[in-house]
């Protein structure tokens, strides 16, 4: 049975294991075609968020700020917001502008929905959909911000459909551009029509071409967003998502689009569940090619099973991701010793319990935690593997525990957007990465260790 804990110090967060709401919301808009984000608040938040996203994806990230100053803070920022919208429209002429708030804007009581409506700016900027999403950073982490934005966007476009279509919605989180390309490949193998939302496969991993345009190509289109309410079903990688935040649930409740909530398709079981869902929705067989890939994955799992059993992992990050990664670890005999998230609420313990007790694992589950707490337990529990984003590099450096990277942000390695983690093929690559890390670690110290332990003259 897992033990649940919070962070060590009550009033002090030491080395945060989370970010704030507008970050998540900005990431959501990155997957909407021809969209821009304007963050209502002072300049810093927006610049920091841009910087964080840019270093992870190595792509130009333009996020505007309403640059609130002392005056705006005291007398209200409506004028700044309206001018900001006009300027963004003038430079970028986007089709969509997501307007987010910050702690500052919310604290001084800015009602962005009201400002946008009352100022008439929306009708002035014809052809641009302005979507307000209140995201006070103090209210929740980027995980919530992401889903709040998804839901707002879906709701903005959803209308009672005249006719039902034959496509499915796939609502995703925590995926890389390469993952989304793999997702498309899988869906094409099933020969089904789909809307992936949000789709960052091109927007955050654009090919080099001559004559760079400040506008990125790709992303979920407006017409795709509009037809979401007409879909035959939604598959949402939102196993951990609180019900109130789920865009899939919204579509189900409002437009009777059945929701299949799935964990991220990482690991054998995770991928199985996803493929089974598609298969069930369309009453179609799982394509031969995918069955073969599954066989290859099994073959590889046997190859590396003993090596993996020596793994004692610390898994941290967003709830959705750590759930999926924990399952992949459990399937392969890598013990999840610490499972941690900086986010406040999630039903992680209950969800994992069955798998955990099957193999008699008793991980420590940390919620609303910081890296200081993770570090302490990682050492105490003699773990030998960290799985999560770059922020674990501190523990890696200090405690010499190797780090396998997944999640956001990754800015101490290159190529985060090209990593593939999902489906049988992605999961297998990821598993190999983990196994090889364990092998390297073992071999590195092997000769010295044996010499020191057993050699006598």
């Amino acid at each position: 049975m897992a033990k649940s804990k919070s962070r060590n110090l009550v009033n002090l967060n030491v080395n945060p294991c989370k970010m704030c709401m507008p970050m998540g919301a900005a990431l959501a808009f990155e997957g909407v075609e021809d969209s821009m984000v304007l963050i209502h608040g002072s300049q810093g938040c927006s610049t920091y968020i841009r910087r964080h996203i840019a270093t992870h994806f190595n792509e130009p990230i333009d996020i505007a700020s309403s640059s609130l100053s002392e005056q705006g803070t005291v007398y209200g920022g409506a004028a700044n917001l309206v001018q900001g919208l006009k300027n963004v429209a003038a430079i970028y002429s986007p089709k969509v502008i997501g307007v987010l708030t910050t702690c500052l804007a919310e604290t001084i009581g800015e009602d962005i929905t009201h400002i946008i409506k009352e100022s008439g700016v929306a009708s002035e900027l014809k052809g641009i959909d302005i979507i307000p999403v209140p995201t006070p950073g103090y209210a929740a982490s980027e995980y919530n911000g992401y889903f709040v934005a998804l839901k707002k966007i879906v709701a903005f476009y959803a209308r009672e459909p005249k006719v039902k279509t034959n496509h499915i919605n796939v609502i995703v989180t925590d995926l890389t551009p390469a993952d989304i390309r793999e997702l498309k490949r899988i869906l094409s193998l099933f020969e089904v029509e789909y809307t992936i939302f949000p789709d960052i496969s091109e927007t955050l991993d654009a090919p080099y071409k001559k004559g760079f345009d400040i506008k990125t190509e790709g992303g979920t289109t407006k017409s795709q967003l509009r037809r979401m309410s007409a879909a035959i079903a939604t598959i949402e990688f939102g196993w951990m998502t609180p019900l109130g935040l789920s865009p899939g649930r919204y579509l189900e409740e409002t437009f009777d689009v059945p929701l299949y909530s799935c964990p991220l398709p990482i690991g054998l079981n995770g991928t199985d569940l996803f493929l089974e869902a598609i298969s069930k929705i369309y009453d179609k067989q799982i394509p031969v090619e995918l069955k073969k890939a599954r066989g290859r994955m099994l073959d590889a799992m046997i190859d590396s099973h003993k090596l993996n059993r020596e793994g004692r992992a610390v898994i941290y990050g967003n709830p959705e991701l750590i759930y999926a990664v924990s399952n992949l670890c459990i399937e392969n005999g890598i013990e999840p010793v610490v499972i941690a998230t900086g986010t406040d609420t999630n039903p992680l313990v209950e969800q994992l319990d069955q798998q955990l007790s099957r193999y008699r694992y008793n991980p420590i589950i940390l919620k609303d935690c910081d890296f200081e707490s993770i570090q302490e337990i990682a050492v105490e529990q003699k773990t030998n593997l960290l799985i999560g984003n770059s922020d674990g590099k501190f523990i890696k450096e200090k405690e010499d525990i190797p780090l396998v990277r997944i999640g956001f942000p990754i800015h101490d390695n290159i190529g985060a957007s090209r990593q593939l983690y999902i489906g049988y093929e992605g999961s297998l690559r990821f598993l190999d990465l983990i196994t090889n890390t364990l092998i390297d670690k073992k071999h590195e110290a092997y000769r010295d260790k044996m010499y020191n332990k057993y050699f006598v003259n």
């Binding site: 009033n11 967060n13 030491v14 920091y48 968020i49 333009d62 700020s65 006009k86 430079i91 500052l104």
Partner: protein, 445 residues
Amino acid sequence: MEKNGLLEGRKKFIMHKENEVPITISCDENSLSGAVSQRACVYCGARVVLNPITDAIHLVHGPIGCASYTWDIRGSLSSDSQLYRNSFSTDLREKDIVFGGEKKLASAITEAYAEYHPKVIFVYATCVVGVIGDDIDAVCKNAEKELGIRVLPVKSPGFSGNKRSGYKAGCNAILQLMGETKIVETIPGSINYLGDFNLAAEAWIIKSYLNEMGVKLLTVLTGDSNYESLLQAPRAELNIVQCAGSMTYLAKQMQSAYQIPFDKVRFLGVDETVIALRKIANLLGDTDIIKRTEKLIERKLTEVTEVLKQYRERVQGHKAAIYVGGGFKAIALIKQFNNLGIDTVVIGTQTGDQEEYEMIRSLTKEGTVILDDTNPNELQKFMLEKGADILVGGVKERPLAYKLGLAFIDHNHERKHALSGFEGAINFAKEVDLTVNSPVWDYIN
């Protein structure tokens, strides 16, 4: 907006150099809403100045984001404590915003002290704290009394100005730490070195020169400094200041509080480094020091001149665009490029002042575009117009350069190679060579 793609409100921040016209450019104003400024905020500026103090706890009072995004993003090195590399936050939540965060802050300070026993805690007030009206002065004062350590408030709500105001807030905290008046004796012949954050060991490099010259370096502000070394700083005979943007203010304050005269130097590039070292030697006026300095310069020049010449042959003729934080860095970069046979055709800063822009104008050729607080759109436009093929900038500018197929020089606080002194000049030339002469450019055309 006009056809040339510039926002009306941005025009006064852009200047094309034509020789006779004196400089008129707006600077030190608020960023234009919606224009995607590359600037950060007051808090960021304060953090730049104070972060390198190694044995301090840097406690960010506010919601989590501000602390999360600035955790260990600067490459200041420490010879001792690593405490400064952690990110501490009060992680304010909804209820704290409603009921105030003072209690939480007080408890956070107590917890931090119990766990880490620092001698000094800097408490950064971020935007929200500035609005909900927490009296952080009072909380800090109480904590000082209770714990017997220094707990210093840093007033840095992001909206209350720009990065420059943040530098000032940081400097004020240092002054508070050092005390208001001089109560200790001057150490003859000793100097402080202000405005080096020991990124990639830069302060250590300068210190090695000063050692060889026989100059006693008391304290670096703030690279690799700590509580004890900061308390020593008022005893110096002379302050030398680099990075004028952030530290001249502190130098002036130290002059009036402790009667320490100051002078400005720059260690970016060979020429500036030579001038700086001679200046320091002459200011101290000791003939032995002057002699040793000349010997050092001679030795270093023979070491670097030939190497730089070789680099120059490989990189000359390119055209550079520069977009960096402060004016002082921009100026030094123009000179360094000049020495490598590279003209600067576009140049901008986030926080340069009138004087610096005037200097920039005098150093660049006719037709050069000068920008204050620019954005990606303008950068792209002018780089293409002016035919720049290399950009110097921070991490946010890098992907833009690469998408445009331009070479890029990293000039940020994370870099892993020093740009100061003779070593720095070579690193710079090497980096220019690494990027402009990469085979990759042959394949994109």
